[in-house]
Amino acid sequence: MDIIGNILYDTVYHSAPIILCVIGGIFAYKANVLNIALEGMMLIGAFVSTLTAFLTHNIALGVLFAMLAALAFGLVFSVLGVTFKGNVIIIGLALNLLASAIAKFVLVRMNTSNITLSFMNVADLKIHIPVIENIPLLGNILSGHPLITYISFIGIFVMWVLMYKTKFGVYVRVVGENEDAAKSIGLKTDFYKYVAILIGALCCGLAGANLSTERLGLFTNDMTAGRGFIAIAAIYCGQGSPTLSAMYAVVFGLARALSVNLSIYAGPAAGLFDVIPYVIMVCVLTAVSIVKHKNNKIRGFKNE
């Protein structure tokens, strides 16, 4: 029983940062901008939040600066990618490398290999919901998580409303689907792309803060370990639907939770469990693609 509870708890725990990246990345996806800088934005968010908290002993400030740092990355992405029409894939990769390089550079200057927030205890950041926390299993899912984890799940709903119920959401989709149509009604298409990218950056910044400061009180370089790309895979699999894509993010969280919890029993092969989430995502991606192209009789490939 205990292990199931732990797996459920860990599923929520590991899903949160990916969900944040997913709901952030979806807007760019809908606006037809492939934002593969999610990874870098998350990493810079994780780094800046821990660094700020380390220097100021203020976690709220850490989260704020994480969002600002990610926004700065988003702005660079938008300026080069949207205004200057650069290749967004290359820009994204560059930002990913740059985030890691900046973190490493600063870490070396600080003469340390990672930043530990020793002034606080991450357990104190967890929110325990009375009554519910005592219900078995449900308590594991709903209670005992840090604030940003709750925000991430509420975020799915908020993004859904924003995407389908408001003018802004409609316009972003119009820009992504038919830029000519958007221009013909006088929409400033670049503006919507900017906003879509910046929303993504903001969410990634939050995800980073959640990953490092809020959950572990620790930053080590490259700790995002491909979560940004997993988020992109989840968006692809869910074809841009906020709920469906978030569900795939949870699938990854579950895979991760399984690998963490089962590794206790696995002994030396434990390391291999870390492979599971990546392999699962590749399988899901393949399955989705096969279904999507089931009826395709046209040979060849389109430039994506």
Binding site: F84, Y236, G271
Partner: protein, 362 residues
């Protein structure tokens, strides 16, 4: 026309590098060092002393190969981001084979076997995304990125368990046998591996610039629908290109193992890794083999120079990673081409609508 094109390309390659160095310089200024001195150390020793230059060539060898591995796929608009994973797998098993060969084996045979194993591993690992892309239309970029992470974990598991050299104080595989190593030529670090890389470069130059396959790579990259309609069987070409890319990556890994590292460690490929360096090099070289060669040597100079920075100044050598990231970032925007192109494209858009086509007869 040709000279103008060449000039454009040169500006597009040099300008981002300069910009990156300027920003890097500002960072160096901010930590209280002299950027010009730093850059002097960075490039001076690695490019302008004989031994330093030969060392630069030595470190350029795997980079030439990974650069070509990326260029050959990127030029066809196939985003093989798995070069890093393919390289690591090739290196790992080249290393394992290198330790288990009998010490009495002829050195040439031993080296060829190790290189072949590396190439084979690279190909096998590249086949996964290749098949998924060619036959199931799965986005190769996401898949290769994921598989990289998976491969790093698998190799970590193998290196810490099954193949670990327990006599060493840290996680690594046993050192390869001497007959599988490329011996140094003279007193620099240069080995035969550099000439292997140059040989491969010449072949790839011919393939990409003179061959039917090269023509098809260009066509697929520029207009895949046209390529398919003119009978290029794009799915087969994707397989071939991924196999070439995987082979080059595996070769790079095996060669680096046999000429420099001699054992697999968890930081075998460095940070950000030879595969990622390859991407910068391919972009810097504009996906052309000659460009890749020049960019690989330039970048290798940066890398070897970075060690000198550590020795002779207080600037962390990680500044080079920052500059590298900035170069790629600015390379994404084609400063000259893009702007003129945008103007041309806008004009053409308006003039080439069927209604207003400027026909010769009109």
């Amino acid at each position: 026309m040709k000279i103008k094109d060449f000039g454009k390309r040169l500006v597009n390659s040099v300008l981002p590098v300069l910009l990156a160095f300027v920003i890097g310089g500002i960072v160096i200024l901010m930590i209280g060092e002299n950027p010009l001195d730093t850059y002097g150390i960075l490039l001076g020793k690695s490019l302008f002393t004989a031994k330093g230059f030969l060392n630069t060539l030595h470190y350029a060898s795997p980079l030439i190969l990974t650069g070509l591995a990326i260029a050959v796929t990127f030029k066809a608009n196939i985003f093989n981001m798995g070069v890093e994973g393919q390289l690591l797998l090739g290196a790992f098993f080249a290393g394992i084979v290198g330790t288990s060969l009998p010490a009495s084996l002829n050195p040439v045979a031993a080296r060829l076997i190790c290189l072949a194993v590396g190439i084979l591993c690279g190909i096998l690992f590249a086949l996964v995304p290749a098949i998924l892309k060619a036959y199931c239309h799965v986005n190769e970029m996401v898949v290769t990125l994921m598989l990289n992470y998976a491969m790093i974990k698998v190799l970590e598991f193998l290196a810490t368990g099954v193949f670990r050299d327990y006599s060493s104080g840290y996680v690594c595989t046993p050192i390869i046998k001497e007959n599988a190593m490329f011996p140094r030529i003279g007193d620099s670090k240069l080995t035969m591996f550099f000439f292997v890389a140059i040989f491969v470069f010449i072949i790839m130059y011919i393939v990409m610039n003179k061959s039917k396959l090269g023509y098809e790579i260009t066509a697929i990259g520029k207009n895949p629908e046209f390529a398919e309609a003119t009978g290029m069987k794009v799915h087969k070409k994707i397989m071939i290109l991924m196999i070439i890319s995987g082979a080059l990556s595996g070769l790079a890994g095996a060669g680096y193992m046999m000429s420099e590292q001699f054992k697999y460690t968890l930081s075998f490929s460095g940070n950000p890794g030879l595969g990622w360096d390859g991407m910068l090099i391919a972009l810097l070289g504009g996906h052309s083999p000659i460009g890749v060669l020049i960019a690989a040597i330039f970048y290798s100079a940066l890398k070897t120079g970075a060690d000198h920075i550590n020795l002779y100044s207080t600037v962390p050598k990680e500044i080079v990673s920052v500059i590298q990231g900035l170069i790629i970032l600015f390379l994404a925007v084609k400063f000259v081409d893009e702007h003129t192109n945008i103007r041309e494209r806008l004009l053409r858009k308006k003039t080439s609508k069927p209604e207003t086509t400027i026909s010769e007869e009109a």
